[in-house]
Amino acid sequence: MPPRGVTTLMGASDLDALSVEARAVRARATAWDRMRTNWSVRLGGAALAVLLVVALAAPWLGTVDPTLFDAASRDLRPGEAGEITTLDGETLKHTFLMGSDSFGRDIYSRVIYGTRISLLVGVASALVAAAFGILLGLSAGYLRRLDGPLMRVMDGVMAIPAILLAIALVGLWKASLFTVVVAIAIPEIPRVTRLVRSLVLTIREEPYVEAAVALGTPVPKIMFGHILPNTIAPLLVQGTFICAAAILVEAILSFLGVGLPPDIPTWGNIMAEGRVQFIAYPHNVFFPGIFLAVTVLAVNILGDGLRDTLDPRMARRL
């Protein structure tokens, strides 16, 4: 594995005292430097930062409560003005920037608030998948006897197409944020397990692991203290792509009607409700769709950039 860069500051005179290898390590750009200057990471990262701000600042971006509706303001075109009734019974004048749906709800507000759910589900699913994948991958890679049966089970889970599995799981359990996150994470676990396992198999042969074993270090400490830190880079790349896939799958689940309950505004939900009138009022479907595409695109671009900077060997594959 590439050595981690040295980040302490040293004076010019100190450099002479270093050996040839140490000087080479100091001069090479660290992974962090490569990440900062990579075009894809910057673009994707910037886009995601904007989306994060939008998600956090939702109440202050000219939105109303996304669940409010007004029968007088149904099916307005984007940009039209209308009224909206608040929970207290007041009627406010409101410009529907992205139009309104068949209940009279403001699409703009629903889309903005939907950003929260999508980002939340994306990150949560990636974290859950990564956590279980790391545990299983470390076990399979380091503990020989678990390897065979564990990988057979992973092959089995991978044989079931991810969306089908997610649909079935959400359909069997009650639809809630927790079940959706778990249902999306489960099909992604085998891939992470495979990745971690193959990394562990390589790292296991490194001299420092042999030294740790010789010193009598307990197995969990070897797994989590020595092997795991060296798997972080590829895991980060994989996690980013899982996040992108998770956002997509959540939207698909909601669109098909097997995702989050309809009172929570997610982009998939908005599209599901709007699809009935697509021919007459396409704005119901297009606005959330654009946000969805842009978000997933940003995460994918970020992932590509991270992969190119953190592991040039991976960049040559796929």
Binding site: D155, P161, I163, L164, I167, I252, G257
Partner: protein
């Protein structure tokens, strides 16, 4: 070579078995009583007890699995609660539209992606190469149903070239059959094209760097022959692999595409069955798709022998 083939076929058996176990466990592991879930919200205690007995849910788990698995091997996938017919029959009825869509999509995807990938690798760094990489990222990111609505809006509503939704059987004439399938196939193939083109480009690029390409060109062979007979042939194994793996994406995409374009296939059946809590059908469809996926990948693995005579293990 036959040992290799036999070994590959034998290797799929454990995977299929694990899939069967997982599908079986999915219903049994839901929180709450499976019999109560199957009976529905309005059932009485007696009705639930009757269902439990009839489905053998009061027997030990292993016995249940044994019975279910034995039925499975005999081709009996159970009976659908919602449609009141055997699940196997139901799947048979809905198979044609899905198969037609999937086949058309695969054909279109390979026909478009492989030449594009080869061309991009040939003119490495050129405009086609960069356009392809850009398109490829877009293809992964724009969701299938968003693309579907964009295509419907532009092609069907504004231009009126193709019908918006629906499916016509092949037996009713090939014209309407194709016209209704063109948009769904294009929508579904975009992701597949992005994937295949990317891998084709990478694989052919690697092959073009080899010495035998230089020899072939030095011999004076036409460039087309060099690209196809020498570069592509040696690059074929990873491409075939990704085509196999992509079928999983295809199956997922089929579910959404059929939903948008109102095609009465297996994808729609899955969604309808889940919404109706029709578990035997859900189980049956998942088993069917998983087995199909494993089968396709097995065929891909077996095809390696055709592409690379060196593979003999």
């Amino acid at each position: 070579m036959w040992a290799f083939l036999a070994r590959r076929v034998a290797a799929t058996i454990p995977v299929l078995f694990v899939v069967a176990v997982l599908v079986f466990l999915m219903l049994r592991l839901t929180p709450g009583d499976p019999a109560a879930i199957l009976a529905g919200d309005a059932a009485t205690g007696d009705q639930i007890a009757k269902i439990r007995a009839s489905l053998g849910l009061d027997r030990p788990l292993v016995v249940q699995f044994g019975i279910w698995f034995a039925n499975l091997l005999a081709g009996d996938l159970g009976e659908s609660f919602f449609y009141k017919m055997k699940v196997a029959t139901l799947i048979g009825q809905r198979l044609e539209p899905t198969l037609a869509l999937a086949t058309l999509t695969i054909v279109v995807a390979i026909a478009v992606a492989v030449p594009l990938g080869v061309a991009a690798a040939w003119r490495f760094g050129g405009w086609l190469d960069r356009a392809l990489m850009g398109f490829s990222v877009l293809g992964f990111s724009v969701p299938v149903f968003v693309l579907a609505y964009i295509l419907i809006y532009v092609v069907s509503l504004k231009l009126g070239w193709l019908p918006v939704q629906g499916y016509q059987r092949l037996g009713d004439g090939i014209g309407p059959f194709l016209r209704h399938l063109v948009l769904p196939a294009i929508t579904l193939s975009v992701v597949y094209i992005a994937l295949i083109a990317r891998v084709t480009r990478a694989s052919v690029l690697e092959a073009l760097g080899e010495d035998y390409i230089r020899t072939a060109r030095a011999k004076g062979l036409p460039e087309i022959r060099v690209l196809v007979r020498h570069a592509l042939a040696n690059a074929a194994v990873p491409i075939a692999t990704v085509i196999g793996i992509g079928v999983a994406l295809l199956i997922g995409g089929v579910v959404v595409t059929e939903s948008v374009y109102a095609i009465p296939g297996l994808g729609r059946l899955t969604v309808d069955a889940v919404l109706a809590r029709d578990f035997p059908t859900v189980q049956g469809v998942i088993l069917f798709f998983s087995f199909a996926y494993v089968l396709v990948n097995l065929l891909v693995d077996l095809s390696y022998v055709l592409f690379d005579p060196r593979i003999r293990y």
